[in-house]
Symmetry: C2
Subunit: 270 residues, 2 copies
């Protein structure tokens, strides 16, 4: 879970990567909103959802950016500015209390919605625009694919903590879970989004077709973190502080898809 405050291990000191990611995302978001036809949405309030919102300055920055882009779009279309409601969603373990403190004084309506984005979060046809920024790499299972967590399975992930560098069966199990998850994500959004609404998501992708090639080099913070953690677990085994089975039962439920894998899930979801 994320640590609050501003100390060396706090989320606010360690989310600059997520913050830089938004600088890359922002132009694409603005372009998607500018190209979108909001003419059908002038009667109702416009509801904007940030899925996997986390908590901190990045959260507010992204939504405030989108709100402004939507307002600009209405203005440039000669439409009267609608009421706007931002819905911030993340797992129930997210710190919504802190998020709500950051939101005081917002000039749009706000709400917090606890739950996993792999399930339905909102009533049918109620969201005009949903975004998910750098969060869909997290898989739906609290742990990882069942086979990977099963000691007797050939997919037991010995010596590794992600699909990266793992045995082919393990990597395939991660890939399969990631595909199912993305399909479920898209099915839920399809039900929640108003006809003609907008759905965006941004994730890091990998270039290799091999699902065991998860790391993205020196500039990939997840790859770097994974390497450090694997070394730390191995050290604990070598020092006799934990056994191999304990080490091997730990997996980070994350997966970087290829563009093809994403396209396949989108295409299967219609």
């Amino acid at each position: 879970s994320m640590e609050g405050g501003v100390g060396i291990s706090s989320y606010s000191r360690n989310s600059s990567n997520q913050g830089s990611a938004f600088l890359l995302i922002a132009p694409a978001l603005r372009a998607a909103i500018a190209a979108h036809d909001f003419a059908d949405h002038t009667a109702a309030p416009i509801r904007i959802a940030d899925l996997g919102c986390a908590v901190g300055s990045n959260t507010i920055t992204a939504v405030a950016f989108v709100i402004k882009a939507v307002r600009d779009k209405f203005k440039s279309s000669g439409l009267r500015e609608p009421e706007l409601q931002a819905l911030f969603s993340d797992l129930v373990s997210n710190d919504f209390n802190t998020l709500f403190q950051h939101l005081e004084g917002a000039d749009f309506f706000v709400a917090g919605v606890p739950g996993s984005f792999y399930h339905r979060l909102f009533p049918s046809s109620s969201i005009h625009f949903s975004m998910c920024n750098v969060a869909l790499q997290w898989l739906s299972k609290a742990s990882v694919p069942a086979a990977v967590a099963d000691r007797r399975s050939s997919s037991w992930n010995a010596g590794r903590i992600t699909a990266g560098g793992s045995a082919p069966e393990v990597a395939r199990a991660f890939a399969s879970q990631a595909h199912e998850d993305l399909c479920r994500y898209l099915a839920c959004r399809a039900e929640e989004t108003v006809p003609g609404g907008l759905v965006t998501f941004f994730v890091s992708i990998r270039s290799s077709s091999d699902p065991a090639e998860q790391t993205g080099g020196e500039d990939c913070s997840l790859g770097w973190m994974v390497t450090c953690l694997e070394q730390a677990w191995n050290d604990l085994v070598l020092e006799g502080l934990i056994d191999e089975e304990t080490r091997d039962s730990f997996n980070i439920p994350a997966y970087h898809r290829t563009l093809d894998e994403i396209a396949k899930a989108v295409s299967e979801s219609g």
Copy 2:
């Protein structure tokens, strides 16, 4: 602010009064829902708001009761059960994290909305049913009417911490603030409620027309609490630990209206 846990000073040990209040409220709520015509509301999800929801078992009990009553009403009307969304609202200082933990597994959509119910909380015409249970006795000001908190004013509330037992000017200032607040509450709900929607609120009322007669006798926990607190403040002055001005600057921003005062605000709000 409210204290968590189950200790002697915790909210959960000290909200039995609020819990018993709901036993009194429940039949009236059920009757209002049973008498309401939901036939116009079958296209959209039904949105139910609990304003001043606090946190704890009372919160969930009240909303679960309403959800069930609405479902029963749809069934008995031969209407297909709609999607339901419960919106839990309270001040930003409320513990939404704990509330959301209690809501895991709910079979309706949920959201938390931070803010004061004396301001707009939701988009226009988006709420089908709002309730406010035993919370409208709290006034909108963090402290109390400006005149009451002004040392130089004739409404400076010397020796008292509510309108109860205070000087006529003080009691009138509280009454005036309470009237403005209720009018503002009703104006906000009028904008937020769908045409044909339902608005309920339950508060303790007082029987005396004199606003300085705030306590409700032995069975009124606020009256009992106020008496204890006033004695405690006076003891601190007598022991020289605080001066009179410090004591007199403390006021509880609560007010019990008469039925006539409520009717006047409702009538002025159309």
